[in-house]
Symmetry: C2
Subunit: 541 residues, 2 copies
């Protein structure tokens, strides 16, 4: 059953050529998977799926509520059309004993651990075959080591299922399918920014749900910035006075609910509290955090109170965010006004510190607070370019500015997250999907042991000009381009003409998102999130 | 308990002035209702609402499943925050016997009829008061003649409820409330266009759900046009070969599900099949409907087959759409190519018909088909400007082109729907909310008996440049401006400076939509659906 991947890619290219000029037809629909699995083979049978398909679980982890809930969600997605699961038509068919090819979905999960951490095993095997001599019942089987691998398999299974409008049944084309899949990178992130614009709970949930469709697995929550401080911190309750309004806030319970909702979809939430810059809003509740009224950021480096507050925030957040990574920011720190503030200037002189020394002192002290709370610190790349090996060796460097920073960071033994602004900043609307897709996190890093230090990448949805009204269509479909780059094999995404190997599938995936209620924007417009220029099919715009 | 409306408006203006330059605070939050109820009075108490608030029903219609389902929906909306209904916190509070002011919601519905037709009684009374000498338990009470009036009352109740982040409870400010409400117009529509771009079922449901928040009550479904024919018609099954693709389709069951979903929210679905123009896509499945390959619309007026197909479509649709109105289009009919098609030319000569005569013949024959199926025909205004009193007297004229067409139509005894393109076409992105709001359907019609013939108005979301990715933010918030114009009293919406009387409430309503997961666009941008220009509060953009 194993398969020659290259042959498949070539076959896929051939199929794509035939389909690239028209909307998809059943014959060429099977390879419309996004992101492309690591290995797969398929046949030429069409199988019908029973709307009352039953879930059979096995293995130590099969009984997990995460599996049961995901099965129910995906049944809702797969049998969305009214003649599907639960409808009168399906019940009549059931009574008439219509025979379906696929009557059960078996999910085998070996581990009973539901711990979701960096590098959790997301591999799975998916088999779909008709009943025949070998098997008495036709079935789909997902086998995975963890519940999170099983979730990825369920997503792939849902993408194999297509509603056929003629027979009014859900069908799987080109069976039997054998898929053996796993991600290339363990960290596949999306950043959201709830400080420049508040995003309501429901909208964050929409974003998380949509991430699971593209197998992204980390929501990087840039909670706070200079504009607003929306999260409740019980230890320093005045901080959320820095929210835009009394209604643009998250309670501790809201944040915990977001973490729970994400975990049910195999997605970690990495919180960010950006210090010492990007923190002006903190002072609305505690003006002592401002060096002076005319110098409101960076935070006051001289006071223990500043670090007490950071410690309090992190202690409160530790109860909410179980993920091992915590982001401390550290970017774009302009220390000029420290020099103009008398008591800060005196403090610097007393320690014989330059302002750069003070910036380092701040970053390192904040790192130690995070580490003391059993967190691995993540910092934006300026901390590495400024302080290099002085950073705690556990630090994960997040790239944004310089294209070869991961190359430099891993050479010094640091782990790195790739998110170059020129390609993976989603608020840069002039970056078309091809550029997002062709951006390779491992570029320039040849040594396999160093490549392993690049834990993955992240697309960043900064919020200055993206609020609730446009956030999802600014994220999609371009985030999907990065998602495939990070999930699929480097070989699969780097060879061939992507207009043939990827574009038809991306069109299909964009329409799949639309069908699932996600307002992903047209793929073809040069500028991201532009409305369609005229009438047309979703599959061709 | 009755109230002087004018005094309230003045009070409201005063409150708005204080709040217009900052984000809302509890003191000025109570009047943030959209659309403004016909009559209301309030006090100065703050009441807490029990997260386990129970539904008590009474009256012949109280037991309706529509009420039960709506109560459950609104409880999800009102207690959205994790510390709300069903959360651990609320259960602990319950065990601790925390006393809430509002512990039950009583809904009294007098009629057991669930028929939803034009002019259905949507009036309701809503009372919210603390327990006191007069009432042993604190309660909210909605009283209505029909379940649909009760739905409107539930929406208003949900707008009175605000989550207070300090106490982490849902509160109602400025109680006791006494609201006596009813709509000014019986027809308050929104058009969607699924021919220029297919809209998935989930997206149509999102639109319907959002309509209910603004108390709109008719979804005008412009199903078919020249670009695509997405709906299944069992009698002529090849018609949906005119769909954009095999996936951009609606089954009969899908359409019925949309009608059911809308009815649960008190919203009628008016289907449109636009003839004889705007129908090119019909010929993909039945080329005989085209006069010739080079003349693909208007439909072939000469053949009985054309009218057989219309009759078949309408017979199929009658089983799906119970609403008494059915839209036959009739707009933008360019008959030039009829003259260039030999058999049509001969047919015209044989009957001594001008092409205008033939256009009329078509429109009237289509009307009779609709009437024979117990439908009231609706036609775009060109049919009236062209044929006047020759139209069936039951015809409802829909305005779009000429600003005084309703004036002329009602003068001739026709009913009319106002939807002038200069103000209420939502694809016109350069019409700001103020112009939408200030547009009065009864302008120029003074006689009360003629005013009654204007059954209402409609905002039109044409689909040429609005697909799934942008449709909701093109609709909102401007559709809300028209919704208040159509619901609230003419006095309330026509007096005063709307920057003070309406804008702060519209900001609030836009954020309410965002909080409910609807991507309504910023209010302040001149061009509709533009993203925010920079960081800021939802309540100020």
């Amino acid at each position: 059953m194993s398969t020659n991947l290259l042959r498949l890619i070539l076959l896929f290219i051939t199929l794509s050529i035939t389909s690239s000029l028209s909307t998809p037809s059943p014959a060429d629909s099977p390879p419309y998977l996004w992101p492309l699995p690591a290995e797969f083979s398929f046949g030429n049978e069409t199988l019908s799926v029973d709307p009352t398909v039953t879930l059979i679980v096995a293995g130590n982890g099969g009984g997990s509520l995460i599996i049961r809930a995901a099965f129910d969600r995906y049944m809702g997605i797969i049998f969305k059309h009214a003649s599907g699961r639960g409808s009168l038509l399906s019940r009549i068919r059931f009574l008439k004993m219509v025979e379906y090819d696929i009557t059960s979905l078996k999910i085998v999960v070996h581990s009973d651990s539901e711990e979701l951490q960096l590098g959790v095993d997301e591999s799975y095997t998916l088999m779909v075959s008709k009943k025949n001599e070998q098997s008495i019942v036709g079935a789909a089987t997902i086998e995975a080591n963890t519940v999170y691998g099983a979730l990825r398999g369920l997503e792939t299974f849902s993408q194999l299922c297509a509603f056929d409008y003629i027979t009014k049944s859900v069908q799987i084309y080109k069976a039997p399918w054998y898929i053996q899949d796993k991600p290339r990178f363990g960290y596949r992130g999306l950043l959201i920014d709830t400080s420049r614009h508040y995003l309501p709970i429901d909208v964050i949930k929409q974003i998380i749900e949509s991430m699971s469709f593209a197998k992204l697995n980390v929501l990087h929550w840039h909670i706070v910035d200079e504009q607003s401080f929306p999260l409740e911190t019980p230890t320093y309750p005045n901080l959320w006075k820095g929210a835009y309004s009394r209604w643009e806030r998250y309670t501790v319970e809201d944040a915990s609910e977001i973490v729970r909702f994400a975990k049910m979809r195999g997605i970690n939430v990495m919180a960010e509290v950006d210090v010492p810059g990007h923190a002006e809003s903190w002072g609305t509740g505690y003006p002592d955090l401002w060096p002076s009224l005319s110098c409101r950021e960076p935070l006051d480096v001289t006071k223990n109170f500043t670090f007490d507050v950071i410690s309090g925030i992190l202690a409160d957040m530790r109860k909410i965010f179980p993920f091992e990574l915590f982001h401390l920011g550290g970017d774009e720190v302009n220390t000029d006004c420290w020099k103009n503030t008398t008591h800060v200037k005196e403090w610097l002189q007393g320690r014989n510190f330059t302002t750069k020394d003070a910036y380092k002192y701040f970053v390192l002290r904040a790192q130690q607070i995070a580490i003391s709370k059993n967190w691995t610190p993540v910092n934006w790349e300026e901390t590495f370019s400024s302080f290099g090996k002085d950073l705690d060796p556990r630090t994960v460097i997040q790239n944004w500015l310089v294209s070869d920073i991961c190359q430099k960071a891993v050479a010094k033994g640091f782990r790195c997250i790739f998110s170059n602004q020129g390609y993976w900043y989603l608020d840069h609307l002039d970056v078309p999907w091809e550029e997002v897709y062709n951006t390779e996190p491992l570029n320039g890093i040849e040594d396999p042991s160093l490549q392993k230090l690049v834990i993955g990448g992240e697309v960043c949805m900064w919020g200055e000009t993206a609020d609730t009204s446009v956030v999802l269509q600014t994220i999609w479909p371009r985030a999907a381009a990065a998602a495939e780059r990070m999930w699929s094999t480097r070989e699969a995404v780097s060879k061939g003409n992507i207009t043939l190997t990827a574009l038809p599938r991306l069109h299909y995936f964009r329409c799949l998102l639309n069908n699932r209620g996600v307002p992903a924007a047209p793929v073809d417009n040069f500028y991201a999130r532009r409305p369609p220029l005229g009438p047309g099919s979703c599959y061709a715009q």
